[in-house]
Symmetry: none
Subunit: 530 residues, 2 copies
């Protein structure tokens, strides 16, 4: 199989998307996941433009463990009228200590005049000097030729000369960028074919989705000899976004016979990673998204559903499991029992000869999912459902009363107070606590109430709290879904709550988290006794 | 210019999308809009499968005024073993009185065996009989060859023979369907080229987006001679959806020199119609959507913004006005004084000779963004900042006291109550309201307090409510960002609040929304008086 190398720029070009803003910690978590998927180059940021990105490259050294990927820093060619050695931006790129460096330069004469305002010759020197300088310092260098396709259409000789300037200076890759996203596949194919023929260095492709053609343009370029592909997970990026790697990867691997991951086994992580990036960036998941979307293999039409039951190939272009997604049959009871069996085994719950109860549980889960629960991100809450039905469930506390108040103080700030009445180990406990917000106050009041009987809860704490509004069109009366992540330092578990009341949803997820933890501790203690 | 005819199937294939459900009235409203855009064929439904769709065709006769479009009914070839005259489905199609009829039939031998379970010869007779019958009754007939591309790859002779059966029976169009959405553009191009060469009737293309290639596959087919294009507005449809007409239309008209609308002036309705269909279908708008999305011409990167200011062509592939969309310059941590100047002009605020105050405001905005505000999704809150600094700001109410309670009832459900003391037009107003959650209760209490003095607020309501947790690692003590979208039916505006307390953040966004609306109304009234 022919090889294509992937450069993921979710952490750089992706953050130019409207509404996308990632912290350094977010970026590190995404980078680690991209490496698990088997991405070859992770473009982590633009350290010269952004102190947050300098932090990222600093932190990456100690906290990332990369098996497959090379970390890549992004910057631009030197400024006009200085030497490469004098250029602050290039120095910052070297300081990032990234083994690979992308530098962007102008390939369209119009932009050299209009945006850069230098002569065409100076632009060529800026490219050559910058590449040569970075190569002298031992880095792998990728030259991003900005606006290459537009430039080539107006002035092919000059566009090509920018690539030659980079090639002559020893560049490792040149990338042809469709920066404005306005090119059509047949144009991209023709131009890439011409460049691959003319140039002694390997060629990459970087497209944008302004015509809904970024994936097609990328595949057309690969067809014509491009061997590096730039893109972002879920296609996030400026305006209409970048080329979507979550679609490009399976198209290359499954349809075009191109090898872009370390092995095809890595493909099964695709859906999980696409959803992970969506969660971290807090973008509303695009349910119809090809390959990885919640609806991507969802069958609704009556004819489709009955044909699928006979043979999935009738209405599916690939098996969903290949990309870690799953088939869903909408408004139907056909699916699921075997999935459920699988889950039960994972949770160590014995469900043999309990088919009827399994069917009941399946109905309950479907009803909950219909209400907005989504157990894919909340395995602990799902496990509690199994244990309640089949296992050794016990409740560690009962809630008698709960009240939360948010009151405006004289200085107009708002403080929250939670009051709880619980029955814990046979005793009624009445606690009150203040907090930064209503949920924080509830968390503290709950801990106060439980600590005397279960001091072990001091070893666990919440690490993540997410709120997502469902049915957004309902405005403030919409349902919300709260996801809480907790840890005791070793294990991490996630719980969920859904309600029209954000406090009720949070409370549900909070109670599940603590119940789950106490149950696990009790199971462990039981095991040690026996 | 070469002509391409559009067949819109939003009302038929579009409704197979997950979460899409349209009433008869919805369908009539969408059909009328599609006609205004200049669509040639509107596929209104599958009357044989669905009584709702029979109603639609009935109602259409009296309530639709179509200038450009032919209404088209969808059905399938006759059942095996009966004559066309005996077939109930074909009779219902004629009863619909639609001037054009699409009938779908099998083109893949595998499906003839697996799904239909008849002989290959009987399938050909089913196609020929059905076409001939509908033609005898004077209808324009389009034959949708289901799974044509998959069928052609496995058995090209048989796939072609299904088209010939339709052609020999007098069909007006044959449509090649990529039903599973698994084909790549170069495959589509090759096969369409071969069919156009072999067949005496004009050829249409119908693709699905399972590989994120539906638009590209459609354009490839047109390149190779297809002259009818099927698709849906915003690409809604089964699984990953159908080919997106909102992208195909401008690509054909502006990039490929194909004429698919009555005139290019009709293109300016595209954005409005895409959003209208999204609203009616109650789907979350896809902000990044090419051509028509809210972010499609939104510029965020600093380099991009300064270049755009000099010449929009530097980072825009088309002028946004051509498709009825508009350019947006996002103000973020990346931007400088020129972004701000641009905003001030948009807001109609005069900032000439006020450079120092502009710099102050920029510093304030950056400080707020550092705290977690993000004004690119909340222009109304940003405009309030401008008006407070440079314009004619006035406060319509003052908050004296605010309290929200969430209390658990006997049945364990949690109810919320909000109590407000405001000064409105010199009077102290004290109100209380219950709600589905704390924010909903606050919204209601605020409306109660303001209605007597400002009855106009009855004409506005909240349409969207988003919560984003910042610094997620802080668990329940993390900061949250709340975005609220409001509308009065004509305009839409967005406001923001940030706090560690979700109630405080929501309250801030809520107050901004109502202040903004009242300010706008006051400005309008002032303008009318003067």
């Amino acid at each position: 199989m022919k090889r294509v190398l992937l450069l993921d720029t979710t952490l750089r070009d992706g953050t130019q998307g409207e509404g996308v803003s990632l912290t350094v910690v977010d970026k590190l978590r995404i980078a680690q996941k991209l490496d698990e998927l088997g991405i070859a180059y992770i473009e982590g940021g633009f350290p010269g433009a952004n102190p947050k990105d300098q932090d990222f490259f600093q932190s990456a050294k100690s906290s990332l463990r990369l098996k497959h990927a090379k970390l890549t820093a992004f910057g631009s060619t030197r400024r006009p009228g200085v030497t490469a050695e004098q250029d602050e931006g290039l120095r910052v790129l070297l300081d990032s200590q990234a083994p690979a460096i992308t530098i962007v330069g102008k390939a369209w004469d119009f932009h050299v005049h209009e945006a850069l305002r230098v002569t065409l010759e100076e632009n060529l020197r800026m490219i050559a000097d910058s590449v040569a300088y970075l190569k002298r310092h031992g880095r792998e260098v990728i030259f991003d030729a900005e606006h290459f396709f537009d430039g080539y259409r107006y002035n092919p000789e000059y566009a090509l000369s920018t690539l030659s300037a980079a090639a002559d200076a020893g560049v490792d890759w040149v990338t042809l960028c469709d920066t404005n996203g306005g090119s059509l596949p047949y144009q991209v194919a023709e131009i890439v074919g011409a460049v691959v023929e003319a140039l002694p260095v390997p060629v990459g492709i970087h497209t944008h989705n302004d015509c809904e053609l970024a994936v097609a343009n990328t595949l057309a370029a690969v067809e014509r000899g491009a061997t590096m592909v730039h893109g972002t997970i879920n296609g996030i990026g400026e305006r209409c976004g970048n080329a979507n790697l979550a679609s490009i990867i399976p198209n290359l691997e499954l349809k075009m016979g191109r090898n872009c991951l370390p092995s095809q086994d890595h493909l099964v992580h695709l859906t999980e990673i696409a959803r992970f990036v969506g969660e971290i960036a807090n973008l509303v998941p695009h349910s119809y998204q090809p390959f990885v979307g919640h609806s991507a293999f969802a069958h609704k039409g009556g004819i489709h559903v009955s044909a699928i039951a006979r043979n999935p190939e009738t209405y599916e272009h690939i098996r969903p499991e290949l990309v870690g997604n799953r088939r869903r049959v909408l408004v139907s009871e056909l699916s699921g029992l075997s999935n459920l069996q699988h889950r039960a085994e994972e949770f160590g719950v014995d469900v043999r000869d309990r088919k009827d109860e399994m069917r009941q549980l399946l109905t309950e889960i479907k009803e909950l999912e219909y209400q907005g629960y989504q157990f894919e991100g909340a395995e602990a809450s799902q496990e509690l459902l199994f244990v309640k039905k089949f296992g050794d469930y016990r409740s560690f506390f009962d809630v008698e009363a709960m009240r939360v108040e948010a009151t405006m103080s004289v200085d107009s700030s708002i403080t929250s107070e939670a009051i709880l009445k619980l029955v814990v180990a046979g005793e009624t406990v009445h606690t009150v606590a203040e907090g930064n917000g209503p949920v924080n106050a509830l968390d503290d009041a709950l801990r106060k109430a439980l600590m005397p009987s279960y001091p072990v809860i001091d070893t666990m704490h919440l690490t993540d709290y997410k709120v997502r509004v469902l049915d957004e069109k309902e405005g403030t009366a919409a349902k919300v879904r709260v996801l809480i992540e907790s840890t005791n330092g070793f294990d991490v578990w996630r719980t969920i709550g859904v309600s029209e009341n954000v406090i009720e949803a949070s409370w549900e997820a909070l109670v599940d988290s603590i119940q789950y933890f106490l149950l696990r501790i009790a199971q462990r203690d039981d095991a040690q006794v026996s």
